[in-house]
């Protein structure tokens, strides 16, 4: 018997493609964000509000992933910005190759901000690097305060948590402080904003976070 050390990442092929994407984003000075949440937490709504807030001259593009339907792309295309739907046909997450394909036909020189809406799923998307500068987890107040503890991976890997649907707080028993404490237990330095896509409360905090990221110099090195 012989022990043969490999020490190789299981998703090394995805990581390789993601590294290539990250390099292309850096070359073209693109900020790419990967939005992840449970189904229905408000990713598309947040993107709708975000696109509405932009001047039409902004160089923004969106890739949105779903298992089925073009619904989200249709909603987002009303903004007038380039939007492409990626239908995974059953796969519960986007992977780097899907992003590579989704970008085909777009001139990256004409994009400054690429927003990716992942498939609604709090688990699987966290394993797949898409070449993004940061993951953003959207978490809504109807989901229970313990989600960060139950699904630690995505909270650990996200730079920002958007606590959405805060307009519903009067109607649901949800302890915001506890949810924040749970999130910080998993990821001490995570940034947190509270939003409502309904009343627009807190959207300014999200937009300022976004503006700050856009000003940051782009790192070419992969964040693992």
């Amino acid at each position: 018997m012989e022990r043969l050390p490999l020490e190789r990442k299981v998703l090394s092929e995805n990581d390789r493609i993601a590294a290539g994407l990250r390099e292309r984003f850096a070359e073209n000075d693109i900020l790419c964000l990967n939005l992840i949440s449970s189904p229905g937490s408000g990713k598309t709504s947040l993107l709708e509000r975000t696109l509405e807030s932009f001047d039409p001259s902004e160089r923004v593009a969106v890739l949105t992933g779903d298992i089925q339907t073009e619904n989200d792309a249709k909603r987002l295309a009303r903004s007038g910005f380039p939007v492409k739907q990626i239908t995974t046909g059953g796969t519960c997450h986007l992977d780097a190759r899907m992003i590579e394909k989704g970008l085909a036909g777009w001139n990256l020189e004409c994009i400054d901000l690429l927003l990716i809406e992942n498939v609604g799923n709090l688990v699987c998307p966290s394993s797949y690097d898409l070449g993004e500068a940061a993951k953003v987890v959207v978490f809504s107040v109807t989901e229970g305060e313990d989600k960060p503890l139950k699904y630690p991976s995505i909270f650990f890997k996200s730079q920002l948590m958007v606590l959405n649907k805060i307009d519903l707080l009067p109607y649901v028993p949800f302890d915001v402080e506890l949810a924040v404490r749970n999130a910080r237990q998993i990821h001490r330095d995570m940034e947190i904003v509270r939003t409502s896509c309904q009343t627009r409360e807190g959207l300014g905090d999200w937009l300022s976070w976004l503006a700050r990221q856009r000003k940051k110099p782009r790192a070419a090195a992969p964040v693992s």
Binding site: E2, E7, L11, Y128
Partner: protein
């Protein structure tokens, strides 16, 4: 459920390595999964079991080395396995700790029988 994809990637990696041992047999692959990897070890085992049948690689066992979340205490330097609910240092009680592991999703090693490796292509 992305564990099928994970299991299939593991099998691909074993298949590639197995070519280096034309006269031997890879009989075990050891996968390291961290608590923060977002992967369910039982589901990976289940999918792996299904995929390995008829793969031409059997008998091939999968062993999973599960790693809990690892912290190093910023106050006293002690390394410890941190629970999600409570990650205070067991030595000094400090809550100030630096993450040091537990997000792995790696193939650690293979066990090969009778394996003089062929020269790498």
């Amino acid at each position: 459920m992305h564990e099928m994809g994970i299991a299939s990637s593991v099998l691909d990696a074993v298949r590639a390595e197995a070519r280096r041992f034309p006269n031997g047999h890879v009989y075990k692959v050891v996968l390291r999964i961290g608590a923060l990897a977002g992967v369910d070890p039982d589901a990976v085992s289940f999918c792996f079991g299904a995929l390995v049948l008829g793969s031409g690689l059997e008998p091939l066992a999968l062993e999973i080395e599960y790693r809990s979340r690892q912290h190093v205490c910023a106050a006293c330097g002690r390394s410890f396995a941190a629970a999600n609910e409570d990650s205070a240092c067991p030595e000094c009680g400090s809550a100030d700790a630096v993450f040091s592991g537990g997000d792995e999703l790696e193939i650690a090693y293979l066990e090969v029988e009778d394996g003089a490796p062929a020269a790498r292509a």
